[in-house]
């Protein structure tokens, strides 16, 4: 009874919280949109008032100050202005610059926050994705209230909240060959904060075709990389990587994991490089690459090759111009998709696979069986089905005797039925389990079958309380 009461009251509280959160986020969106509108109005007024002033007055005003910073701006950016090597000149250039950030994820989050705060004139954000709970540990620009909403909406609101004087342009779409030229041409500098190989080649080629400097960052696991392409006579991405790597060499954060701070560090450095290029201060990383290893706390800056004479994108005789860019198939070129949707392998015939629901029914019926989970050991520690036997795919070859003895044990326990025990194989999404079953068949375990869609299908079709990751 007591737990029932507290259960229902906590449900009411939760509902109230959810309702308020939704209201809060819609109010924030509204404020953000109105603020943008207000800024545009102010800009218009400024333009028209300059025109109306007698010319002598405007000359007087500009002769006092060699820049266009308002008193508010001077106060806001005062710590930049106090830097002898940055000062009013660099800040003025920054205020007139425009930067496009492609991707509002782990790299884009800190990059956008710093660029907005530091007073970039116009900031474009491109992303087609929505905010998810498992983004929040690293994509620090997004808050819980924006889960399920567009990343661009969320990032734009966060940037406007920090600095309402920056013009934020929202592109809630994926960057593709069809829209890239039009979008990128409106900016001085591009930040590559994407998460896949085809996008990286596409963003590079677009920048080469349009002559824009590209601040490129990447992070997976506990490592990050950073450089500036197509700037100051330096190389472009294709000079360095003329041939795309095999698909199997392209790790994704959703498979390999990533420590939140690592893209954070690289994203901050991308903002720094962009600010340096925009305001023409310091030495950019063009022709050099920064390699960051978080685990050993090591940063290495290496010299990379210069612009390649033979580069297909930026070389002397390169035929790569706008029409060719618009026809180029980047997914075919890199053999991997733009979207970060996981691979769906189809290695086995239908009779060698069962659904998670079917497997559940067999467990309920008490069918004697062995369930082998072929995920890596650290995945198995997160969550696993009861009584499953963890034999990571990489060790399967050496662990066949363990499977044989587990099957025998199962048959002895269930001596009444007299039938042999079945062998099922499961993994996270149903790809490695197919590879394992394929191998087991070759090794004589002909009855082995895999569970379609792995633990993800168990969670979606059988047990909604089963954790996914």
């Amino acid at each position: 009874m007591v737990s029932n009461v507290s259960g229902s009251s906590s449900r009411i509280l939760q509902e109230e919280i959810d309702k308020l959160k939704a209201e809060k986020s819609s109010i924030e969106d509204r404020i953000s949109a109105l603020q943008a509108q207000l800024n545009e109005e102010k800009d218009k007024d400024k333009d028209s008032s300059t025109c109306c002033f007698p010319s002598s007055l405007s000359i007087n005003a500009s002769s006092c100050f060699q820049h266009a910073l308002s008193p508010d701006m001077i106060y806001r950016y005062s710590r930049h202005l106090l830097l002898p090597s940055f000062g009013i000149e660099a800040q003025s250039k920054l205020l007139k610059s425009s930067i496009l950030v492609v991707g509002a994820g782990g790299l884009g989050s800190p990059a956008l926050l710093y660029l907005a705060a530091s007073g970039v004139g116009r900031l474009g954000i491109v992303d087609h994705d929505v905010v998810e709970l498992n983004n929040l540990h690293r994509q620090i620009i997004h808050a819980e209230a924006y889960i399920g909403q567009s990343k661009v909406t969320s990032a734009a609101a966060a940037c406007r909240a920090i600095n309402s004087t920056v013009q934020i342009v929202e592109y809630k779409e994926a960057l593709r060959v069809s829209n890239a030229l039009e979008i990128v041409s409106k900016y001085d500098i591009v930040i590559d904060a994407t998460d896949n190989a085809p996008s990286r080649y596409m963003v590079n080629d677009c920048c080469v075709v349009l002559g824009k400097p590209l601040i490129s960052g990447a992070a997976v696991g506990l490592e990050g990389q950073l450089t500036v392409y197509n700037h100051d006579g330096g190389p472009c991405y294709r000079c360095l990587f003329p041939t795309p790597p095999p698909t199997s060499a392209c790790q994704r954060c959703s498979d390999s994991g990533v420590l939140g701070v690592v893209p954070g560090v690289i994203g901050c450095l991308q903002a720094l490089e962009a600010i340096k290029v925009a305001s023409s201060v310091g030495e950019s990383l063009s022709g050099r690459m920064l390699l960051f290893d978080a685990l050993s706390a090591r940063i290495r800056i290496v010299k990379i090759r210069g612009r390649s004479f033979h580069c297909e994108a930026c070389g002397e005789n390169a035929a790569f111009k706008q029409p060719m860019f618009q026809k180029f198939d980047y997914e075919k070129f890199t053999q991997s998709p733009f979207a970060s949707t996981p691979l769906k392998l189809n290695l086995l015939s239908e009779s060698d696979r069962i659904s998670s629901k079917d497997y559940k029914a067999r467990v309920t019926n008490g069918e004697p069986h062995v369930l082998v989970d072929v995920r890596p050991a650290h995945h198995f520690k997160i969550v696993a089905l009861p009584k499953s036997l963890n034999i990571p795919l990489s060790t399967l070859k050496d662990k066949l005797p363990a499977i044989s003895s587990a099957l025998k044990e199962e048959e002895v326990t269930d001596s009444s039925s007299g039938s042999s025990a079945s062998l099922y194989v499961i993994c996270r999404r149903g790809n490695d389990s197919q590879r394992a079953v394929h191998y087991l068949h070759q090794m004589g375990f002909t009855s082995a079958r895999d569970i379609l869609g792995g633990l993800e299908s168990w969670a979606s079709d059988v047990d909604p309380n089963f954790p996914t990751y």
Binding site: A219, F241, T243, P263, R305
Partner: protein, 99 residues
Amino acid sequence: MQLTLEFGGGLELLCESVKIHNVNVDLEAGEEKLTMKDLLSWVRTNLIKERPEMFMKGDSVRPGVLVLVNDCDWELSGQLDTTLEEKDVVVFISTLHGG
């Protein structure tokens, strides 16, 4: 010849997740110098424990791997023909795409 070899960007997974290897590579009989070409075949034989195709393609590294000799792109020192010297540091790093 004493060399320090480092693997990164996921390539360390091919050599039992060890990133830094201090190794001693002997010159082939009759050879006077050690080139990167020699070192690559030595690494493939002695350090790469699995999926060698993720490290090499033909007699060079696979696409997407940067090779740095003493913090400098091997393109600048002659690629496979780069001559190595005592105590050199050679880094093999796979380019990352995530973000």
